[in-house]
């Protein structure tokens, strides 16, 4: 009887493990940052990564990829509603925006609409040129997101535009008003998100921006009043 009990426990553990494997591979339980698949309430994603933005040569004169560290957070707060926060910094240039996103899915296809508000702050002191430089902007950012989930990964595309309420820059005490009450950027972001290594999830993608005044180049005193193309490569690991 004891032997049969041992056999039963071993066999049961085998079934339990099989059940675990099924849960791990259940893709509806996997949530990504860029894909607008509805999150389960109470679940959250914290993502740390980086980005490289290629500044327009008409402003920077040379091809210069600007690096930044990105921290992103998404939490399911109600059914089909997520709260989102995003912070990007390279110390001199900082961008923070937070918002609420409505998510919907039809089988593998998902759709989302987000309203974000945020601010940009930049500061730097350069000895020998200008003592102190700073700039800030306050903006509204509506985002339309589309996602498609395959067995092992998801593809998503989003379209967004930023409306600047107010922006100002200062150079050694001289204050200049920047773009205000105007749409400043339109951009399209393409992201692929998938498992990487054993249980880590990775987002990689490109963001293609047309901007009248790219915030990443605030220090270069852009005087070109036309839409400039600003491509960006990004990646992020779910923590």
């Amino acid at each position: 009887m004891f032997n049969y009990l041992i056999a039963l426990i071993i066999i049961s553990s085998s079934f339990l493990r099989a059940q675990e494997d099924i849960n791990i591979q259940d893709t509806t339980q996997t949530f990504y940052f860029y894909e607008p698949y509805p999150q389960i309430m109470g679940t959250s994603i914290l993502q740390l990564g980086g980005s490289f933005t290629l500044l327009p040569t008409s402003v920077a004169e040379n091809e210069f990829p600007t690096p930044a560290v990105d921290l992103q957070y998404k939490r399911g707060i109600f059914k089909n509603i997520s709260a989102i926060g995003s912070f990007s910094t390279n110390y001199f240039t900082n961008l923070l925006h937070i918002g609420i996103q409505w998510n919907l899915n039809e089988d593998k296809f998902s759709f989302g609409f987000a309203n974000h508000f945020g601010g940009f702050v930049g500061f730097i002191s350069m000895e020998g040129t200008y003592d102190s430089n700073s700039a800030y902007a306050i903006f509204y950012l509506p985002i339309l997101r589309f996602g498609y989930r395959l067995n092992d990964f998801s593809i998503s595309m989003s379209f967004a535009a930023s409306y600047i309420f107010k922006s100002t820059s200062r150079v050694s005490g001289l204050k200049a008003r920047g773009p205000g009450k105007t749409w400043n950027d339109i951009f399209c972001t393409i992201a692929v998100e998938q498992p990487f290594l054993k249980s880590t999830y990775l987002s990689i993608g490109l963001s293609l921006t047309y901007s009248r005044s790219p915030y990443q180049s605030w220090l270069l005193f852009n005087t070109i009043d036309e839409y400039l193309f600003v491509p960006e490569f990004f990646f992020g690991f779910q923590l």
């Binding site: 032997n3 049969y4 041992i6 056999a7 071993i10 066999i11 085998s14 493990r17 494997d21 290629l54 040569t57 091809e63 990829p65 092992d152 990964f153 692929v192 998938q194 498992p195 990487f196 290594l197 054993k198 990775l202 990689i204 491509p231 490569f233």
Partner: protein
């Protein structure tokens, strides 16, 4: 005894399940690609040039670390000759025409990310190209400059053996600073040199 046989088979089946888990196999892969390529220039390659397309050739090699999932990351280099031109230059002193030649080549030094299915692979190389230009006009002048570029590629590979795969690959090179797009319909061979 029966009991031990049953337990033995159950444990063996567990080992087999562990063996076929897809994320348990990590690979290092080397892929080589070579072919001719056609390049389109946004601006004239030399003063007076009217044609915007040129023929060249390229050879690329990438080493990829492929840790069990779809995604792999690695490094790519190689050599590509984008354009060679023969043209005439008018001498300012006596208006005589002198023949000249120019050549533009590029060496990629790029980080690569790619996604692989069973047969398909799609990827993107990002980073600089070392642009090498040579102008021969009685004397030879050479220049070199790092410029950023993107290399998109997609391939479909057939298995020749467990470790060797061969197939067509289409790649598109984009060099934004000079406004060059190169299209390269090529052949690739992949060696899986390490599996652990």
């Amino acid at each position: 005894m029966k009991l031990f046989v049953i337990i033995f088979f159950i444990l063996m089946s567990e080992l087999i399940v562990a063996q076929i888990k897809p994320d348990s196999v990590y690979q290092v892969e080397i892929t080589a690609t070579a072919s001719s390529l056609i390049s389109f220039f946004d601006q004239g390659r030399y003063p007076g040039a009217t044609n915007t397309a040129s023929l060249g050739f390229g050879f690329f090699i990438r080493g990829m670390w492929h840790p069990g999932r779809l995604l792999s990351i690695g490094f790519m280099t190689g050599y590509t000759q984008i354009a060679t031109d023969e043209f005439s230059v008018s001498n300012l002193n006596n208006n005589e025409l002198t023949s000249a030649s120019a050549r533009l080549s590029a060496i990629p030094i790029q980080l690569v990310v790619s996604m692989q299915g069973k047969k398909f692979e799609f990827g993107l190389g990002m980073g600089p190209y070392m642009m090498l230009s040579t102008i021969d006009y009685g004397i030879t002048a050479q220049g070199q400059r790092l410029e950023l570029g993107l290399t998109f590629f997609g391939s479909y590979l057939f298995s020749l053996s467990n470790n060797i795969h061969l197939g067509p690959e289409l790649r598109v090179l984009y060099l934004s600073y000079r406004g060059i797009i190169s299209i390269m319909p090529s052949l690739s061979i992949r060696f899986e040199i390490l599996r652990y």
